[in-house]
């Protein structure tokens, strides 16, 4: 058995142990399982939210994006701060509204605000469709990490299946408590690995960070600046805006808000989380340092940059430590995504079909759904697919379509009617699906636009269509939907 395997097995074992132990002393009611009984303090909410940021998407995709796209990867830092500024103003009213009405999921919020359980079902379906590729990404990343860091002693498919069993087990048993406990060890290990690699590799190979960037600029002039066409400033800013608006529209991020024991916890996190995002810088350094040291990675292989350079730099035991950190970046967010997906289906799709059913029954259904959903995700994972960043950007555009309807619901007098909420979301997600499946670009769809606008993220086009439909239908149905309109302040 190689020494890397010891650390990999240790990471999986510790995650399973902490995940299952988290249920001790707690009656796993639906509220405990989904939102931790609304009793988490600032530290745990911080770890849940920060833990959702440092996923395999960042660990592999962030460094890979820097390796393959250069300055395009700067967008990760750009949206490291804006969601938290937004969170300071929008999350406390969400928490208060949910606490008063004992809401458990994101669709509950929409259904309650618009007095429409059908809207809750629509939001649940949109969220579920976005979460599945996100879960697949975690598993795909997990397979890559286990296979490479174990020096192929464990195949990618075996890694996916082992990880899926571990996550499904502790999610079914402990719910959000399992995610919270495993977040602690995961963030500590990931922070150590990211900062160490981000500093060690540039100094080891180039003699310093400035020397590294000078060498890259000499070898690939212009690679470290945004392009005039394609990944231009317009692309970057529109991608940052889209990612910012979508950040808390992810169902699992929305549910993490409910776990807080007070709205002050959420405001406090708004100034702690941005500084924590500086860790992204070190992840980017790893990708940049690999450009000249492991040249030639193309397509989906760019996601391997971090591990390729680690394999040629470190002894197997340390590759095992890096692998252990990587595995936790897949298991912990994967558990939150799985728990949320099961809740969406049990609470917001199954429950409306069985009116009057008790919470205990819904909790049982959700716990049984967790392994079923995981099996579906494993099936998709083993079927192959796209690169990590490309897939996630599409899912991001998907959940962002919920933002206009959500924002309108926070106003004292909601300007959006119930039919308009349906129409806006449906048009938005349909547009995202169309442009993603047909691989359309803004330049292709609107060749008459000025060059500066042709690089807009296509998700922005979907959002604009969404807003236009939302406005027109709201005006057209103003009289019709008066009873459904709200005058309730979010606070």
């Amino acid at each position: 058995m190689n020494s890397a395997l010891i650390f990999i097995a240790l990471a999986v074992g510790v995650a399973l142990f902490l995940g299952i132990r988290a249920r001790r002393g707690k009656d796993m009611s639906l509220e405990q399982w989904t939102v931790g009984g609304r009793g988490f303090g600032a530290a745990i909410v911080f770890l849940l939210m920060a833990g959702e940021i440092y996923t395999t998407f960042v660990f592999l995709g962030g460094s890979g994006f820097a390796y393959g796209n250069g300055a395009g990867a700067y967008y990760l830092l750009g949206y490291g701060s804006l969601p938290f500024i937004l969170s300071y103003f929008i999350l406390p009213p969400v928490w208060r509204y949910a606490k008063e009405r004992r809401l458990l999921s994101q669709p509950d919020f929409f259904a309650s605000k618009y007095k429409s359980s059908a809207l809750g079902v629509l939001v649940a379906i949109v969220g579920f469709i976005a979460l599945i590729p996100y879960l697949v990404l975690q598993l795909k990343g997990l397979g890559i990490i286990v296979s490479i860091s174990s020096y192929s002693a464990i195949s990618s498919n075996q890694g996916v299946i082992i990880g899926a069993i571990v996550v499904a087990a502790y999610v079914a048993l402990s719910g959000v408590h399992g995610s919270a406990w495993t977040s602690v060890i995961k963030d500590a290990l990931v922070m150590f690995v990211a900062v160490f690699l981000g500093l060690y590799l540039p100094y080891h190979y180039y003699g310093g960070i400035e020397n590294m960037f000078t060498a890259i600029e000499a070898a690939k002039p212009g690679f470290l600046a945004l392009r005039d066409v394609g990944q231009s400033p317009t692309w970057m800013v529109s991608t940052v805006v889209l990612s910012t608006l979508g950040f808390y529209m992810w169902p699992h991020m929305f549910m993490a808000v409910y776990t807080a024991k007070g709205d002050g916890v959420l405001r406090k996190n708004a100034f702690i989380l941005p500084i924590y995002q500086l860790m992204l810088l070190f992840i980017l350094f790893v990708g940049f340092s690999a450009i000249l040291q492991v040249p030639g990675l193309k397509g989906g292989d760019i996601d391997l940059a971090l591990f390729k350079i680690s394999l040629q730099t470190f002894d197997p035991w340390f590759v095992g430590v890096i692998g252990a950190a990587g595995i936790l970046t897949a298991l912990v967010p994967g558990s939150m995504i799985l728990m949320t997906s099961a809740t969406l289906i049990a609470n917001n799709v199954y429950r409306p079909l069985r009116p009057g059913v008790e919470d205990a029954h819904i909790a049982r259904v959700a716990k049984w759904l967790a392994p079923v959903i995981m099996a579906v995700a494993v099936w998709f994972t083993l079927g192959g697919g796209d690169t990590i960043v490309a897939l996630l950007l599409m899912a991001y555009a998907f959940v962002t379509q919920l933002f206009p309807v959500f924002l309108a619901s926070l106003f004292k007098s909601n300007p959006v009617s119930k039919p308009a909420a349906f129409a806006g979301i449906i048009v938005g997600v349909s547009t995202v699906a169309y442009v993603s499946l047909t691989k359309q670009t803004v330049a292709g769809m609107f060749p008459f636009l000025p060059t500066a606008l042709k690089d807009l993220n296509v998700g922005m086009i979907a959002l604009l269509f969404n807003l236009a439909v939302l406005t027109v239908v709201s005006i057209a149905t103003r009289g019709l939907s008066a009873p459904g309109r709200l005058s309730t302040n979010a606070s």
Binding site: A71, Y74, L77, G78, Y79, G80, S81, L82, F84, I85, Y88, F89, G208, I209, E210, N211, M212, F213, T214, L224, A225, L226, P233, M236, V237, V240, V241, R267, K268, A270, F271, I272, P274, I275, Q277, L278, L281, L284
Partner: protein
């Protein structure tokens, strides 16, 4: 909304305007890293200012 909340616009403008004009780290990357630090500082100022305003308000009600 209180006047102090407008401070939050500073990091927002840094991120959204910077790439158009500022395109040993490359300048734009440094600028975005600084925006993270500024965000934390600005949001901390807003948080503690709001806390103080709330406690002043509570004291006023108590009297």
């Amino acid at each position: 909304m209180r006047a102090v909340h407008t401070l939050a616009l500073a990091p927002v403008l840094m991120v959204l305007v910077g790439p158009f004009f500022l395109n040993g780290m490359p300048f734009l990357l440094s600028w975005l890293a600084l925006s993270l630090v500024l965000t934390s500082i600005v949001m901390a100022i807003i948080y503690f200012s709001d806390q103080k305003a709330q406690s002043t308000q509570r004291d006023g009600h108590a009297k």
